[in-house]
């Protein structure tokens, strides 16, 4: 295929990484949701492009799900929740933005380093793209551990999921796992939104995990051994 | 063979017969040194007879052990004494028990006596037993260390062999032997309750040890115990005599003449040692009870030192 094709794939993967950084940067709820939507859309595009490159029509479904479901529905629902829980004004970073960013850079560097010795480049899917996917995953994880409230943690998790899908779709000819993984990501999203947040809200008036931890199973200070 | 048995028998009798005399001698000498006339030499025999004839007064709550103890004490001490060559070596029963056994037999006697002291349940009996045993915890190991030295030196724990060895050419002046001798003397003083460890003549409650232990005894029981004490003193002296001054002792199965000579020499030795003992006793004062452990500890240390010197210096037999 022409270098242009792989360049475009490359570009899309790179832009996902970029959006991940933007997600990491955001501390306002609504902005966070919007950037997540963008993240999902870019994913959709990249998956679509891969589908076109690999002549794999089933990947288009994945792309569509990514675009519609993750790009539209979930952000909207989360928006509702945020409004209902009245947490749209909270600024909830644990670590301040600067260090987080630096850490993110380090992660990207690390993922590139670990990918360097990879000799085999699976067709169109260049080593760099794989390292991009890896960095998206790591950034998602980083986001989960630098945010305090549940919604942003869920978003972090879902961006991590997106990274996975990026990698999976990139892996040429990888059978059925893609759909399943997407299905699972949706299932997870549902579980998160439906089951937990509402139940948690029944119990606690916040989704702040700190508060949730006020009721831990044990309290410290046991008698001596 | 029979002559060996004869000497053994004679020995059994001799130790019993001479023991009170030895006590008498020491008392007499001591009295003279103190410018007293002192009791006649044979007073101890009279005392024993007198006590035997008296009726026995036993505390109500005394048990069978209280009444059995004197016999056991007397018997074990006597046997132990009979196993020490006095005027003749190579005794028939010598092979039955070596030096360690003799020490242990005295231990048995002490054990029973201490129990008897506790039996009636008086405070003085307690004092006596407790202190006696405390002395023993140091005196017995000291004695054993001295025994070690001797037996390593002579390559045997048999008294006959030891004294034979001492007569032999290998024996010479040896620092270990000297240490052992000193240790042995200290132990003898301690074990027999002589000054400075204990005063056999006193009944001052808080200073007495041995006497406190037998405070409740009277009559024949007391006689047996006193006799045992006398035999014990004799035993120690004849032990020292047989090991360190083995000259003149008749060898196994020697003729009657030799035996007679042996008896004479033995009596002489006893006389000398008895004299020295009383001299020593008059020369120094009794020490506080809790100084005694240090006194006996010295003996233990000396004995141990002697043994170690011997361990590292001598090639084995």
């Amino acid at each position: 295929m022409s270098p242009l094709d792989s360049d475009i794939a490359h570009l899309l993967a790179g832009s996902m990484l970029l959006v991940s950084f933007l997600l990491l940067y955001q501390d306002r709820m609504f902005a966070l949701l919007n950037f997540y939507a963008m993240h999902a859309c870019v994913l959709g595009l990249s998956v679509g492009w891969q589908a076109y490159l690999q002549r794999a029509p089933h990947l288009f479904i994945t792309a569509l799900i990514a675009l519609l479901f993750k790009g539209v529905i979930i952000p909207v629902v989360l928006h509702r929740i945020v409004v209902r829980l009245r947490i749209h004004r909270t600024i909830d970073t644990v670590v301040s933005i600067g260090p987080t960013m630096l850490l993110g850079m380090a992660l990207v560097a690390l993922s590139i380093i670990v990918m360097l010795p990879v000799t085999h480049t699976g067709g169109v899917f260049a080593r760099e793209d794989l390292s991009f996917a890896l960095s998206v995953v790591l950034l998602g994880l980083l986001m989960m551990i630098t945010r305090r409230n549940a919604v942003s943690q869920v978003i972090g998790f879902m961006s991590l999921e997106n990274g996975l899908i990026l990698a999976a779709t990139g892996a040429r000819g990888m059978p059925l796992v893609v759909e399943i993984s997407v299905g699972f990501s949706i299932l997870i999203a549902f579980l998160v939104i439906g089951m937990f947040l509402f139940r948690i809200r029944e119990r606690f008036d916040t989704v702040d995990l700190q508060a949730l931890h006020m009721s831990r199973g044990e309290s410290s200070g046991e008698e001596a051994a | 063979m029979s002559i060996v048995w004869l000497t053994q028998l004679a020995q059994v009798v001799v130790v019993l017969a001479l023991a009170p005399l030895l006590t008498g001698v020491t008392r007499k000498v001591r009295a003279r040194l103190l410018r007293r006339r002192g009791a006649p030499l044979f007073q101890p025999y009279r005392d024993l007879l007198k006590q035997i004839r008296k009726e026995v007064v036993v505390a109500e709550n005394a048990s069978w052990l209280f009444r059995a103890a004197p016999y056991i004490v007397f018997a074990t001490t006597w046997v132990a004494a009979a196993l020490v060559p006095t005027f003749a070596t190579g005794l028939a029963l010598g092979a039955a028990a070596d030096l360690i056994v003799i020490v242990a037999l005295l231990g048995t006697a002490r054990f029973m006596l201490a129990l008897a002291g506790l039996d009636v349940g008086t405070s003085f009996g307690g004092i006596g037993s407790s202190r006696e045993m405390m002395f023993a915890t140091l005196a017995e190991p000291a004695m054993l260390m001295a025994v070690f030295t001797l037996s390593l030196f002579a390559g045997s724990t048999e008294l006959s062999s030891i004294s034979a060895f001492m007569l032999g050419p290998h024996a010479g002046l040896n620092i270990s032997l000297a240490l052992a001798l000193v240790a042995l003397i200290i132990v003898a003083i301690g074990e027999n309750g002589r000054i400075p460890v204990d005063n056999p003549a006193t009944h001052l409650e808080l200073t007495m040890v041995h006497e406190a232990m037998i405070l409740e005894y009277s009559g024949r029981h007391l006689a047996l115990i006193e006799a045992a004490a006398a035999v014990k003193l004799l035993l120690y002296l004849s032990l020292i005599a047989c090991v360190f001054t083995p000259w003149g002792t008749a060898v196994a199965g020697a003729g009657a003449l030799a035996c007679l000579l042996g008896v004479a020499v033995y009596a002489l030795k006893l006389l000398v040692f008895g004299f020295l003992l009383s001299l020593f006793e008059t020369a120094i004062a009794k020490m506080r009870v809790f100084r005694v452990p240090e006194f006996l500890g010295v003996a233990l240390m000396l004995g141990l030192l002697g043994t170690i010197l011997l361990f590292v210096s001598r090639a084995p037999h």
Binding site: V114, M115, P117, V118, T119, H120, G122, F125, L130, L134, V137, L141, M144, Q153, F157, L160, E161, G163, L164, A167, A168, A171, R172, G173, M174, P175, L176, V177, I180, S181, F184, L187, I188, L191, V192, M195, F196, R199, I200, R203, F204, L212, H213, S215, R216, G217, E218, S219, S220, E222, A225 | -
Partner: protein, 483 residues
Amino acid sequence: MSSGLAVLALATLLAVPAVGALLLAAIRSYRISAALNVALCALTLASAAALYAHRPAPSLYLLVDDVNTVFLIVGALVGFTTSVFSAGYIAHELETRRLKPRDLRFYHAMYQLLMFAMNVALVANNIGLMWVAIELATLTTVVMVGLYRTSAALEAAWKYFILGSVGIALALFGTILVYLAAEERLGQGMTAMAWDHLVGRSAGFDPALLNLAFVFLLLGYGTKVGLAPVHAWLPDAHAEGPTPISAVLSGLLLNVALFALLRFKLIMAGNRLVLSPGPMMVTMGLLSLVFAGFMIYRRRDIKRMFAYSSIEHMGIITLAFGLGGPLASFAGLLHMTMHSLTKSAIFFGVGYVSQLEGTQRIADIRGLTQSQPLLGWMLVIGVAAIAGLPPFGVFTSEFLLVTSTFARSPWLAVLLGLGLMIAFSALALRMHGLAFGESARRHVLNPWRLAPMALHLLLVAVAGIYLPRTIVSWFRHVASLLG
């Protein structure tokens, strides 16, 4: 015809729980559903046993070999006994109003779903399918942990859910990397995800990719195994969920995850250029062992305490497999089996204890051997067994493991022994408090309800004294396969 039987057995193994889940979701009466649950598990057990004798030919999706039959049979057995235990247990929960009939319907359905997921995970030949199955199992257990809807339960479920999902994600990434490594040699498509093909051809795979993949798989599936430092979900999930689920978690799910890990370890082992997986597994195992040992000292909640003991033993097993070699692998396999049986038995007992005493706080429970002698002594026996005292199977495996380790690398063995000692002392300390001392209470408990516990302990005791030759040779074979 043998193959036909085999295919049938495999089909029932998968179909029974799947159908059962739907059925149980439909049935309203909890008595019927509990009975049906037991029956279904019995069927599953039967088919699993049948699979030991007759193996169907491996397909691209499913594979039954010596290795996973061990896990299948152990799992099915524990699942069966647990269903028996749960029948009695759940009834009591209903009486005490801790659960509503609606919850029970959900619970039973989920129980079968869990069985289904775990069976699939075990017989899956396709690493993708295996991943999916384990994910399904995780999700079902998540909702079951949250069943009581107390704040603590929800917290535990939430914690489990978040950490579990992250683990799943990492595992998926690892799987993708393995596929990438394989795709080059095996070409695109199914074959590149079929485990038996992978393990055969892994020599030619790109070592760098495999290394990377194993890191993700170790952490991903290691989360499910409950290895420190990615263990955090495990204690709370065990403590807050219904006790049968704690038993199933410790007895089955951890093993299934470990099984997945072992499959990938074998793929790694086939390639001589890769970073050897052994040291990593040994390190994590040792870490878990020592860490859990210290954690047991300060536990207040009885179920949480035994959950930590599960972490400890998973550490031991991982260490054994990481160490490799015929003795160690055999020991690991034996230890895994024995731990499944013993730990589930202990959880049965603990379930009754917490029901009778009305608390899970260790401090409030004492003198069990007096208040309910049978239960108390069986609990003592269980603890003695899990602590590796003879005549129980755990002792045998620890004997083999420690002796062989000491002969090979003494320092490792010393650390191992230290960890064992720490955990043992902690368990002994707590057990004395629980089992002995004066207790005013007197509990009545129908002895038959202790039958599952008794069965497990009996099996463990027998295994400690006498293992049938067939099982020994079978395990030896499996151990040689596991390297």
